[in-house]
Every structure is written in C-alpha cells, then in structure tokens.
Symmetry: C2
C-alpha cells in the first residue's frame, strides 16, 4: 500500500466532492463562467479592515534582530497577552497570557487540542450537523467522533448529548455561530450543557468542553454570542482570525484555556508541546505580530448581512425552507428531494453549485455559502427559483 | 488523566531540558548575563537576504482580491512551480509543480509525510544521532522510530541500515547536512543506500527514502550536497527556508516528490489531504508569496563559516575532539566524561550552556550551535579551555 490505509480510505471517501468541484470547472466551460453560481466555498471575499495594511507593511519590513526567529512555541508573550484580554472579555473569565497558545488557525488549534488530550479510541461528542473536517481531525489522533442529533431548529439537544456520553468521552465539541446552519447557541442551552458536564464530572467522567468559534464576530440583528468559559471550568476556546479579519490563508488563531481547569499547568504544557511536535512549531511570526495589533478590528459584517437578507428573501420566494442564520455566512437549506445529493445534482443542471448536507452529518439539507459577491447572488436567485419550480 | 498518556510521558521525558533552560536563566541572574554563553539553540541570528525586505513589504500591502484567502491546499501554483525548478536543479530530477506541496516548515512537512504514509506500528529507520524531534513526529502517528548506528565519522552505515529493515519499515529518513554533527553524506554513500532500497523493493519491501535537508545551502569549503531524488524513484525531499533565508519563525518549506514513484498521483493526493486535515490547511499565504520570489537567494554563509573556524580552532586548543562540520551550524563534540550530561553540567558551572548528545540518540557527545554572535564565541573559548583543563 503506497499510503496509509486510513488516508487511502479518506481520499476515496472524499472523491465525490472533488468530482463535484471538477464538474463545476467543466460546467463553466460548457455554460460559460458567468452562468455558473458557486456557493460551495467558505472563502471570505470581504477585504481585511483598513488598519491591516499599515500594520502589515511595517511588520513585514521591520529590520529588528530575530523578528523572524523562533519564539516560545506558545507564541509571542505580548500577542498572547492581547488574546488573553480578548478571550477574557468574550468569555467573562479571567484568562491570562499563560492560558493562551497561538496556533496555525482554528484547524491547527483543534489538532493541537486533540493530540494533547485524546488517547486512541477516546471519543469526541459533537452535535449534528458539524464541520466536515472534525472527523478527519479525530482520526488523525486515532480518536472517534460521536455525532449526536440536534433539535429540529439546530439548537443543542442536551438529552441526546447526555445519552451519547460514555466512559470514553473526553471532549464535547460545539461550534457557535454554527457552520453549516448559522445557528447561535443560546446562553440557556449552554448553561444546561455546562450543568450536564458538571454532573458527569461529579460522577467521575472528566469531559472537556471545547468551543470552536471562528465566527463569533460574524453575527446579525444585534445578536451577541454568549460566553462559554465562564460556565464550566474544564473548557477551551479555539478560534481564528480567518473570518473576523478575512485572513484564512494566513493561518492564525489561538487556543484559550479556562484558568480554573484541573491540572491547568500540565494541560498548557501539553498544548505547547503538541503545537511544537505536530510541526506547527509556532504560529507564523509575521501574522502573529499583525493580529496582535488588530484584536479589536473586524471586517465589515454589514456586507454579509446584506447578502444574507438577499438570499433569505430570494430562497423564501423560491419556496425553500431553512432556518434564518443568526451568524456565520451559510444557509442550511432543506432539500426538496429526500436525498440531498439529488438536489445538489438538480441545481447543478442550472449552473448552481452547493454542498450536500450529508458531508456535514446533516443529510436532507444543502449548504450555501454567501461569502461571494452580491451580484452573483442576485443573478442566481431567479435561477434557483426556476430550478425549484421545475422539480418534478 | 487530564492529558493523553503519551503526551504526559513526553512532557515528563523532556522536563530535564526545560530544567536546564530554567537553570540557564538562574545562571544569568547569579553570574550576570554577559557571563553566560548559550550554545543550546539553533535559532539563526543572521539577517535574511536584503531582497527579502522589498518583496515582503510589497506582498504585505498588496490589496488585490483574495490574496489572504484560502488557496489550493498544496499552495499557490506559481510558487510550487518555482520550488519544482529548485528541487529539479538540487536533485538532478525533473520535478513538476504537481510534485510539490508547500508546507508549514520542514517540521510540518515531515508530519504531513508521516501521516500520509504510515500505518500505526510501522517503522522509520534513521541513522544516529538524529534530530531530537523525529521521535515525537513518529509517535504523533503511532509509528515507531528505529535509530541505527552510524560509522564513527557519522557517515551512513549501510549494513546497519540493512540489518534494521523489517517488513514494517516504510521510511528511511536521512538528514544532510546533518543536525547535530554537521556531516554531509557523500554521493557514494547515498548511491549505496539507494541500491539497498532498490534491492528491498525487488524483494517486495516498498520503502520510501525521505531526505530532510533544511541545511542544504549552509555548507562550507565549496562542498556541494549531492542529489538524492535522482538516485531512487521512491523518494521525497522535505525542506524549509528557516535556515537558507533565516525565517524559522515564519514557518515555510515544501515537500517535493520524485515524479517517478509508484502511484505518484495517489501519494500526492494523500500529501495534500494530510496538509489540510492536520490543520495546516495551507502554508501561510504571505510567506509563500515572499519565498516564491526568493528561491535563488540565501543568507551570508560566510558569517557562519567564520564562526565555525573560530570554534574549530578554539575547541582544538582546548583539547576537545569533534568532526569538523561540513555544513549546518552545529559542532558535535566528544564528551571528556563518559556521561555527556556530566560534561553539560561541568560546562554549566563555567556559564557555558550546551545540549547533551543523548537527546539526539548520540550519548557521549554534546552539541554546540554556532548561530550566535562571534563575540560570544570569542569570549567563551578561553572559558571552555579552562573548564576542560579543570576536569578532574
């Protein structure tokens, strides 16, 4: 076998996504690029905040000694200080610089956490639907993802989580604002979740709560994402600046640890070790220094909001069902076909590309990303309406 | 257990290095910072090439759309094209852009390779001594490092490698110029190694040759590091710009694959998948674009060479034994004590900090890094001489 068995299986398993991507390219050739409407990718197109450019220019040309050198594996002390303040304010919790590790995005952060915390065969409970990569991150560390049903409005089903917890459960992983549904978990539901985990802790099951929240700042209608760290001592936040500052390709984020957790110092040493040995070594020096100056900035969320409204109205007119997103930049739309892949294929005939919910543990739905130009959305909506009306 | 068992063991196992580091800080307090000579760290202090600054400044402030966005997980096509040319020229082999993955340094590249290629319990054969992190990289993927003896001059012992190969061997990992010894493997020894692996392939054992070579450009006395890819089809090069351009904190490197290997496309898909799922997603966009313009540049190696000569002469005068380094920026010095940690502790009493060879699978030696200011070396040499003369 030329590659690892698990990896060969993953390549085979993901090949239909690749196929769809390649079909999209073919589609552009046959229909013309302006007749193809690609809502598959969550790659933000909004520019970084204006302040980014002056900071980046001066950091990039800084001639001070060792500015491109190795630093502590956890990141620059002053940058961690800034992130600690941010996490403290977001999470109503007194996070210090010593509770923060700068990471290669949230994806890097989650791998660091999983490597540090999980023995082989241990379990991560996650509400469905969920970000498709979680399963791969778990299997990197020979751990197992245990997806559980959510309520029909995609809020957390506490009883379902309770039923899924076993003696092998080490992590409950939540993502709010949520990809792919746009749901923001309520303070009440998070409190219930925290109570549940406290009860399990009393019963001898030590389970970490991990909040993956790269979309915390991408919210609408005045919604505020409730704090997580303040609710339960054994908790982490993992986040990135990919969406808040539109810098996904630069790979920068952080893990913040609840300072009140058991064996806090040992856990932090484990995170720092894993950041190093997984080959990240440290988050990239340049972008660490840049985001250290931009912690209070964010992209113009009103751009996403305008598209969201456009999409919501257009899809309603088309007769489609979906929960109005409260955050992030995705719509999770009920498939008029029983099989979501049939809907994906139907839309494709009209030049509209979307991702099947099956890939997110949410069959019967499709995901549409609205981080693309409003003109494309405007042009696509009548076509989507036509496509839906022509379902036999 | 608050953290994974393997990670807890690793933290405990590496705690004496941390202890030494902390003792170094204490030492600076008691002896004064100017009386402590720290040769422990391989963190290059030489400035990047002048061209870096203009390129970095213009890339950082580029306002083109999507320059900070996600790109293909393998990296920018044009940057891969540049690296393919470089690998082709270094390795006398026709590497194409499709055979290259941009990675988060060589450490990231090795983890991607190990994740992609290794099933649990499979083996990586590596000549001793070896870069201390290799063992951790192997254990990330539940694989096993199998260190084998080298010849006394630290050249490859082909017979020792042959004896270590089993049906579980998937990779032979070499590092030249070598950390910690400074050895550059000869063309002849590499040819013998390639012949050995070809014979095993004929016998049904498919073993990859992985050349980890971040120090390829840091060589002295006109030495040229021989090509590897041209010798054996089932081969990879992993490298970084950490040393060549003095950018270790920026985390940029690449994997180049021999285009003639079996299942070439499948293996490349596996590498790209693993770059994504290990959480790197892609090498940082900014520094990818920068190094794409700097592939023919390198730091001023004469600075390292001057220090090397200074060190070599001074240590000879002190009566110490070592192989004169041909590349990289380390000296691997025979300990006058049987136990290298005793020598480390003896030198520490004089304010001289070095790393024990035991940490590199090379007990009986200590490693001294000369990527620090020449004045510190000049000041330290008489003290090292005194320390050696006062060994009882």
């Amino acid at each position: 076998m030329p590659v690892a068995d698990q990896i060969k299986a993953s390549i085979a398993g993901s090949s239909w996504i690749r196929k769809m991507f390649e079909e999209g390219i073919e589609l552009k050739k046959t229909l013309g690029a302006d007749k193809v409407f690609d809502f598959t990718i969550g790659n933000p197109d909004v520019a970084p905040p204006e302040k980014y450019y002056s900071i980046a220019g001066s950091v990039a040309t800084d001639r001070s000694k060792n500015v491109h050198g190795y630093m502590p594996n956890a990141g620059y002390e002053n940058v961690r200080e800034v992130m600690a303040k941010k996490a403290s304010s977001d999470h109503a919790c007194d996070v210090g610089a010593n509770n923060v590790v700068m990471t290669v995005g949230a994806a890097g952060g989650l791998n660091v956490l999983f490597r540090a915390l999980l023995n082989p065969d241990e379990e991560i409970v996650v509400p469905k639907p969920y970000f498709a990569e979680y399963g791969a991150y778990a299997s990197n560390h020979k751990a197992r993802l245990v997806p559980v049903e959510s309520k029909t409005d995609f809020s957390i089903d506490i009883d379902a989580i309770d039923r899924a917890i076993t003696d092998k459960t080490r992590i409950v992983l939540i993502n709010s604002p949520h990809n792919p549904t746009g749901r923001v978990y309520s303070a009440e539901s998070l409190e219930k979740l925290a109570s549940l985990l406290k009860r399990h802790k009393e019963e001898g099951r030590h389970i970490y709560l991990v909040a993956d929240e790269p979309y915390r700042e991408i919210v609408y209608d005045g919604i505020v994402v409730p704090p997580v760290l303040s609710l339960y001592s054994e908790s982490f936040v993992v986040t990135s600046f990919s969406k808040t500052l539109s810098l996904p390709g630069e790979r920068i984020g952080y893990i913040a640890q609840n300072p009140g957790m058991d064996d806090c110092g040992l856990v932090m040493n484990a995170l720092i070790l894993c950041n190093r040995i997984l080959g990240f070594v440290n988050a990239p020096a340049f972008i660490q220094r840049v985001v250290g100056e931009l912690a209070d900035e964010k992209v113009d969320v009103s751009i996403y909001d305008k598209r969201r409204k456009l999409f919501v109205n257009g899809l309603k007119e088309a007769g489609l069902e979906f929960a109005k997103p409260e955050g992030a930049f995705y719509l999770f739309v009920k498939s008029p076909f029983e099989n979501d892949v049939d809907f994906v294929n139907h839309l494709k005939k009209y030049g509209v590309l979307v991702v099947p919910g099956s890939g997110f543990g949410g069959p019967g739905y499709v995901r549409m990303a609205y981080c693309i130009d409003e003109k494309i959305i405007e042009a696509a909506l009548p076509i989507i309406k036509k496509a839906v009306s022509e379902i036999e």
